[in-house]
């Protein structure tokens, strides 16, 4: 157990120099969009505040959030985050297992009641009394409710916890349910994405440590600093969009020249995330840069919103899959033909109509 050691103590103990520490504080301030005057504030918080206990639960998920998290470069997970927060329970990362691990959960919940952060990766399936996801011999939903009861705030990691993601896609056989629909009485920060960007994950935690409050959230509960703009808004291919230059198919000239992927179904214009600014793997690239459209993984229900390779959603219920435009054109054709027939009959009946209007 971490006790009352501060972040700075931990970092110094791990051989991080004062100079590196201050550099880290400046980088963090920049990452959070704060001015240089906040650097001393961050440094002072790190030096004086006790480490924040975090319990990280895993429900129905694929661990891609954890995989992303451990690749954070600014700040580096190895050097900073796993020491910064006191990650007391995370069944994929912790050394202990079985009863020993579950005992830690109870201990932290008791000792830091009302003061720890609950990070949830994945979501609870509610069907069959939650039997589709068992952790420690009990349905995950029970563990989630129990641990949430003493939490100060909850972070919903990824699209699973935030919106449901693939396991909640139609027909959702296990009735996988996002965290905010199960836990109703705690502040919840949604960090959607499949997975979320590593720097976004660590940035959210750093903000909460530094300022001892939740980051400003948008209407859907996402931190504004990372989710207030669309990928489209900062996309480096945006000039091609505005110019009217599109990739028409993945093997054409436009694809080689790096034109806009709008016509091949890029969801950048409808997806709120930081991929086009923060990028992935230490800023190396992001899907659009690699030549593939955004699939909109940080948007609610992205599995059920039609093809990843078409602009318009397909319309079910018309026998074959058809786009809204096809259905609309068929409807317009049918209405046009109907009107023509109606006009013909009207003309015939008019032809038989003699005399003027006032009989």
């Amino acid at each position: 157990m971490a006790g009352l050691e501060t972040f700075y103590d931990v970092m110094r103990r791990q051989g991080i120099t004062r100079r590196s520490f201050i550099k880290y504080c400046s980088l963090t301030a920049a990452a959070l969009g704060l001015g240089p005057e906040f650097v001393p504030q961050i440094a002072s918080a790190m030096e004086t505040k006790p480490r924040l206990p975090v319990l990280w639960l895993h429900g129905l998920e694929c661990t891609c959030c954890s995989e992303s998290f451990i690749r954070s470069a600014h700040p580096l997970v190895k050097d900073v985050v796993l020491s910064m927060i006191s990650l007391d329970y995370d069944d994929t990362l912790m050394a202990s297992a079985g009863h020993q691990a579950e005992a830690i959960l109870d201990e932290v919940m008791e000792k830091y009641h009302g003061n720890y952060i609950l990070a949830v990766e994945g979501n609870p399936p509610l069907n069959e009394d939650g039997m589709y996801c068992i952790v420690g011999g009990k349905p995950f939903v029970e563990q989630l409710k129990k641990v949430a009861s003493g939490a100060k705030a909850i972070i919903s990691w990824g699209s699973c916890a935030s919106y449901g993601c693939v396991q909640a896609a139609r027909p959702n056989p296990t009735q996988a349910t996002p965290v905010h629909k199960v836990i109703l009485d705690k502040p919840i920060i949604k960090v959607p994405g499949c997975p979320p960007i590593a720097e976004v994950m660590t940035g959210v935690i750093t903000y909460m440590l530094t300022f001892d409050r939740l980051p400003e959230l948008d209407r859907q509960g996402r931190p504004k600093m990372f989710y207030s703009q669309r990928i489209h808004d900062k996309c480096y291919r945006r000039p091609h969009f505005d110019a009217g230059q599109y990739v028409e198919s993945f093997d054409d000239e436009g694809a080689r020249k790096g034109y806009c992927l709008y016509k091949v179904g890029c969801k950048g214009p409808t997806t709120y995330n930081a991929c086009s600014t923060v990028r992935w793997n230490d800023g190396v690239s992001f899907p659009i840069q690699s030549g593939h459209g955004c699939i909109g993984c940080s948007e609610d229900g992205f599995w059920d919103k039609g093809s990843w390779y078409a602009r318009l959603q397909n319309v079910g219920g018309f026998g074959v899959e058809a786009s809204a435009d096809k259905v609309g054109m068929v409807a317009a054709g049918a209405v046009g033909a109907g009107l023509a027939v109606h006009a013909a009959i009207s003309a015939l009946s008019r032809a038989r109509y003699k005399g003027d209007d006032d009989q």
Partner: protein, 253 residues
């Protein structure tokens, strides 16, 4: 409405015209009732809305399915930029017009309010609706004489035009806030509909469907007003240009 006896012109009616002094009876000319229905702001709004809908539909379609790729450097083109600019400008004109039209219902005549509600509890609305349906099914010769909109027209206008327009304005401004930012006034006032309509993509999708509702409505609207102008007992096309609706007969029913 004038009684049917007085609709033949009398000698006095010719006074002050080029036919003054002639015998009115021999001319067999008729005098017909004309009512001022559509006031100038309503007519102006109608045609401004027509123009903006044409621009909105064409540009909106191209936003959903952009024209073929242009060659050359992106710096020498701004095609999608212009398409979107026209769409947003026309949308603003359409929206301001719609708002002005709503305000005009408080200042204008009784017919200005017909677009905005359906007299659900009135029996004559339902009988009028049935009558017009029978007319369009060729089961009844002529419809009733109406001063504003007939019951069928009113129903179509309310659902396919008024409600659809309102939906297009709300969803349109919500999508516009994608560009202006979620803290812009568009985002604050209209942004809430996006999660409700299935996220940003779902809102785009429903906004696109709204376009098709409007297109079908315009087709039917243009057909029926032309047909009514020829076949019904009152004028329609000219009443939306000069505001006067003339009646071809003075039969009371």
């Amino acid at each position: 409405m004038v009684s049917s006896k007085s609709n033949i012109l009398s000698d006095e009616d010719l006074q002050g015209t080029n036919l003054a002094g002639q015998s009115a009876r021999a001319l067999r000319a008729r005098k017909l009732t004309t009512i001022y229905v559509y006031e100038a702001p309503v007519r102006l709004w109608h045609w401004v809305t027509v123009a903006s809908i044409i621009v909105l539909v064409v540009t909106g379609y191209f936003i959903g399915s952009p024209p073929p790729t242009l060659s050359g450097e992106p710096s020498s083109h701004f095609l999608m930029g212009w398409i979107r600019y026209l769409h947003f400008s026309a949308a603003w004109i359409f929206s301001v017009g719609f708002a002005g039209r709503v305000l005009w219902t408080f200042m204008g005549n009784v017919y200005t309010r017909e677009l905005f509600y359906i007299p659900f509890w009135r029996k004559d609305y339902w009988t009028g609706l049935l009558n017009e349906v029978l007319v369009y099914a060729f089961l009844r010769k002529q419809g009733e004489k109406t001063i504003g909109h007939n019951a069928l027209a009113r129903t179509a206008l309310f659902f396919c035009f008024t409600l659809t327009s309102l939906f297009m304005i709300v969803s349109g401004f919500a999508l516009y806030s994608d560009g202006t930012g979620m803290d812009s006034w568009e985002g604050l006032v209209f942004g809430w509909v996006k999660p409700w309509l299935g996220g940003d993509l779902g809102t785009h999708f429903l906004h696109h469907w709204g376009m098709w509702v409007i297109i079908l409505f315009v087709m039917i609207h243009v057909y029926t007003v032309t047909r009514e102008d020829i076949m019904s007992r009152q004028t329609l096309l000219s009443s939306m240009t000069n505001g006067y609706r003339s009646y071809r007969d003075d039969r009371p029913e």
